[in-house]
């Protein structure tokens, strides 16, 4: 039996695979034909095979429960891929490169001359109140003037097809391992389609990451020792920390494995004694990094790490303090930054945003809470938000108070009707909303992953894609439909 795409419900949202009128979009033709030929039963069988593979490969993520402690759950993957045409992707890629470049210039400027503040482009007051500005980082020169070596930017597509940047994650963004694992699993369950569809590979991320990290080593170190620093097995992203260390062939260290000597050099405890560490890809938050400088009660960090970093004896990626640009209020200034530092227009637009810190905008937000999304400036993972159209009167009252109490901490945006894509659900294939998190590596050059991690809201009509809140994921295909590629494959 073939899949009846004519029954696939049309909606007001943009669909990634099926165009208006039920015809597949050009880059998705090969995939849709393949799926149709498989039929619904076979598709369900392959989904089961994927679930089994994920379970036995032990691809997990950790969720916290107030009662049960942390629980390891199998990673949710919907096997129908999300497809983006190569030419569209190239434009997105250029937009992300431009953005990462401007963000790094902004952070470096903020911790040195603050020209952007002096020139009146970025208000001084916003900086003073930023929760992620680290005064301890002022005046420090990280290698290559780069602070946010790894950035995960969330992209969404509106009803008219426009791709917006929703936020930039510059602290310890996660998800890239799932992007890589999703591909492995989908290759296992759909081997046939990879031969014909012109799908670009994603596998070179770990080696690009490793090369970027190695290049950060202090001058004069030939064979740098690179380690991944994890908070440990109970962290929700532990799977990823371990995965990346494995893929890069470097040590996965915890804070207790490392020590900073009186010589301000970082050492790790090995079976042959103390061994010097040159580059740390840290997945521990700023405030837990060094009890000498930040939270004194942290047991996850390394005492003296900031001393070693300041002395230039170790490189930290991302650099402490990079999160200053992770603030949602700072986010609203990114197009202005691109203009200011690069003298270019932003290729990718921001979602239009209202700053509660500005009196007139705040009044507009408070008057229109029922139609807006309100976001705290410094949270991630979708926590602490108000989804206006779905909120109760009591919730709106609560947010009115919260905003009035601390306007700096909130921005508001119109609800973007996220694009949808065909997704396997009980009883067939239905559209579900999704976003995309590509990862951008900034070193001597700026590289973007081929596609990224597609997260999908598994509940009908839901816009919440976070895996901690019931979201799923998809393999993301950047598809080259050009004749050359098809020829090379045939």
């Amino acid at each position: 039996m073939r899949i009846a795409w004519e029954d696939y419900p049309a909606s007001a949202s943009f669909d990634e695979l099926i165009g208006p009128g039920g015809a597949p979009r050009p880059a998705a033709i090969a995939l849709i034909e393949f799926l149709s030929a498989l039929g619904p039963e076979e598709l369900a069988t392959r989904q089961k095979a994927a679930d089994v593979a994920i379970r036995s490969m032990g691809i997990t993520f950790t969720v916290y429960h107030e009662e049960g402690g942390s629980i390891d759950r199998a990673w949710p993957l919907d096997i129908i891929p999300r497809v983006i045409a190569l030419d569209e992707w190239q434009r997105i890629e250029a937009g992300l490169q431009q953005r990462a470049q401007a963000l790094n210039m902004f952070i470096d400027d903020i911790y040195h001359e603050q020209r952007i503040v002096r020139d009146g482009v970025f208000p001084r007051g916003y900086l003073a109140d930023s929760a992620n500005f680290r005064s301890q980082c002022v005046g420090i020169h990280p290698p290559q003037h780069i602070w946010a070596h790894i950035c995960g930017s969330d992209l969404v597509r509106g009803a008219d097809g426009t791709v917006y940047v929703l936020e930039d994650n510059l602290r310890v963004p996660s998800g890239v391992s799932y992007m890589l694992e999703n591909r492995q699993v989908v290759k296992r369950v759909f081997p046939e389609v990879f031969e014909a569809a012109g799908i670009l590979p994603v596998d070179d991320y770990p080696s690009q990451l490793f090369d970027m990290l190695r290049a950060l080593a202090p001058a004069g170190v030939d064979q740098p020792e690179v380690v991944v620093l994890t908070p440990g097995i109970y962290n929700s992203a532990y799977f990823e920390h371990s995965y990346l260390a494995h893929q890069m062939g470097c040590e996965l260290a915890e804070g207790r494995d490392l020590v900073v000597g009186d010589d301000d050099i970082v050492y790790m405890r090995t079976i042959v004694g103390w061994q010097r560490v040159d580059v740390i890809y840290r997945r521990v938050d700023d405030l837990f990094l060094d009890p000498e400088v930040f939270r004194a009660d942290s047991t996850l960090g390394v005492r003296g790490l900031m001393r070693a970093w300041r002395a230039g004896n170790v490189a930290l990626a991302n650099a402490p303090g990079a999160g200053v640009a992770d603030d949602k209020l700072v986010y609203t200034f990114v197009p202005a930054m691109i203009k200011y530092y690069l003298d270019q227009d932003a290729i990718l637009p921001n979602v239009p945003s209202f700053l509660c810190a500005e009196g007139d905008q705040c009044a507009h937000v408070l008057a229109n809470l029922a139609t807006l999304v309100v976001k705290p400036a410094n949270e991630s993972g979708g926590y602490g938000m108000l989804m206006g159209p779905k909120s109760s009167l009591a919730e709106r009252k609560q947010f009115t108070q919260l905003i009035q109490l601390n306007p700096r901490n909130y921005i508001a945006q119109p609800v973007i009707s996220l694009s949808t894509t065909p997704t396997l659900v009980e009883g067939g294939i239905e559209p579900r909303h999704l976003d995309l998190r590509p990862f951008i590596l900034s070193g001597r050059e700026v590289q973007v992953t081929t596609g990224g991690l597609t997260r999908v809201a598994m509940r009908k009509g839901s816009l919440v894609v976070n895996s901690s809140q019931g979201g799923g994921s998809k393999d993301t295909w950047i598809v080259d439909t050009s004749a050359d590629y098809a020829f090379a494959r045939s």
Binding site: A245, G261, M268, I271, V272, W274
Partner: protein
Amino acid sequence: MLSRVADNLYWMARYLERTENLARLVDVSAGLMLDLPPRLSPGWQPLVKITGNDSLYAEQERDYSEKSAVKFIVASAKNPGSMMTSIARAREIARTVRDILPREVWEQINELYLYVGEHAAEASARRTRYGFLGRVISSTHALTGMFEGIFNEGDALSFLTLGRNIERADMTSRIVDVRAAAMMTGPSAAQLGAFETVLWMGVLRSLSGYQMYRLKTRERVYGAGVVRFLLADEQFPRACVCCLRRAEDVLHRLPNSEPLLRRVSRMRRAIHHTRFEALEQGELHEFIDRLQVSLARTNDELARIYFVGHSALQADVAPILAYQSQAQNDKQITA
């Protein structure tokens, strides 16, 4: 290699080996009960004793029935020495060192963990027991094969090999100790005479050693012969001396291992020179006791040298750098 990682690998190997040994023990004990007349059957108590948790057992179970004992040894999450606990710990550790394990190794451990969790009840029913235990044993064999077949030689493999062999030597010595005690003393010792051969064959089988014993010794199965074979044989991989020799081979390749090497080779020579035929049961027990204390000290010494040592930071730096450049030279030569 990070000390913490070495520590974890060592214990992961110990827990995996323990999982296998527990499966062997249950399998062979169950077989033994079928061979002996009920009045002479040693019952399930010695088995609980071998796993070293008899007092805990007394707290949790009422009698030494087959069902209670097997459940306690295989499936109990409250028994720190059970198969379930062992494989769960091995998996938990594997998760923390996953970055250095080949993917197949992690998947195999994960699958074994899921399997034991879902099928442990099958060990209690006689009809399904053999299939369940057989699968556990062959899964751990597959793991040993992977360590041999797809794991780089080097520090990681060294600590895995150490863990496996020390656990194995420990378990073999426990089995010999408890079985010897059950057979040589007690009220029914005299009546057991006729069944002595059967019992010692069971001990050999629990360690997959029956055929190897026959091939190697070309003599009938008898108590002192089996004890000598299981403790002192240099070639049977589950014999204590063979395990210790393998541990020595590994230690030779690790830095700073001199004190450990001295201890292990002293143990090995002591076993080698013992005349088991001349030992009374009490003396054998004392001998094995000393062996186990020495194995425990080896364990502590390993921890001191490789896992938690290195407290004096600066003093340690110089020799390490020497080792490092040595390692780098090696790399260049092999590259």
